[in-house]
């Protein structure tokens, strides 16, 4: 267990999440991709705290931030989906993009 290894795992999670966020049509699935990316960020922050600067609390604060961001992203995401669904019966990113036109 080294810093590099942990960061590699974090990077892998981030990229899997990115792939999901880029490919998925459904807004809900896209949010799952974002969650996964944030999971990678959390892991990287924890690794950095542990291996680089454990005396400072900044790494921990970053994790708190990321966890909050996940919760906010979820809440806003579902609110937007509900609003879209109510008005246009749309749950796909493609269709939402068409709405702009």
């Amino acid at each position: 267990m080294t810093l590099e290894l942990l960061l590699l795992v974090a990077a892998a999670l981030f990229c899997v999440g990115l792939f999901g966020a880029l490919t998925q049509q459904s807004i809900v699935m896209l949010m799952m991709g974002l969650e996964l990316m944030l999971g990678g960020v959390i892991l990287a922050a924890a690794a950095a705290w542990h291996y680089i600067a454990p005396a400072a609390a900044d790494g921990q604060v970053l994790i708190v931030l990321a966890v909050t961001a996940m919760a906010l992203e979820m809440a806003v995401g579902f609110a937007v989906v509900t609003a879209l669904f109510r008005s246009r019966e749309v749950d796909m990113t493609d269709m939402a993009a068409e709405l702009k036109e």
Partner: protein, 186 residues
Amino acid sequence: MDAAVFWILAVLAVVSGVWVFRFDSMARATFSLLTSLLCVGGLVILLGLDYLGIVIVLMMTIEMAIMAVFMVMYMMNPAGLMPMTMMHNKKGAAVVCGLVFALLAAGILLAPWPARRGKAPADPTMELGMSLMGPQMLTMMTLGLALFATIVATVVLATRRGRYDRLGDDLRARRADDPVRGGVGQ
């Protein structure tokens, strides 16, 4: 011992992360994501941040359980009984992600990481609390404000009925006109 736990959690996190986008069934995808995030929580605990790791486990479990309901609500085919693909521009995304990963990996492996400075405090939880209530107070307040704004914004976005719908135009109705009656009786 730690190394074994690390490898199990790390592999499980990435594999279940991949499976999120391979399952047809929404329930399976959601709970595969939950597995992945729980493993992240486990790794965080392993790194000595007990409190944050447990909080991640707690929050993610609740979050994913609620997410599952929304999944079932809004997806066309939540149980994945009709196999269908929900992807677009798969190839481009794969290339982009591969590139990003290669870049990150190169950066991780090549960067001259600084040596460890200082020692972990005896009680990191206390440290976090002191920091959030002290030097990082601004962060904490911003977070609080953001959470509050989110609550208001999501309710506004998601609901259709305002208080005028519930209590009448002059807000004088004795009992709110709701589709379901609440327990407190107003």
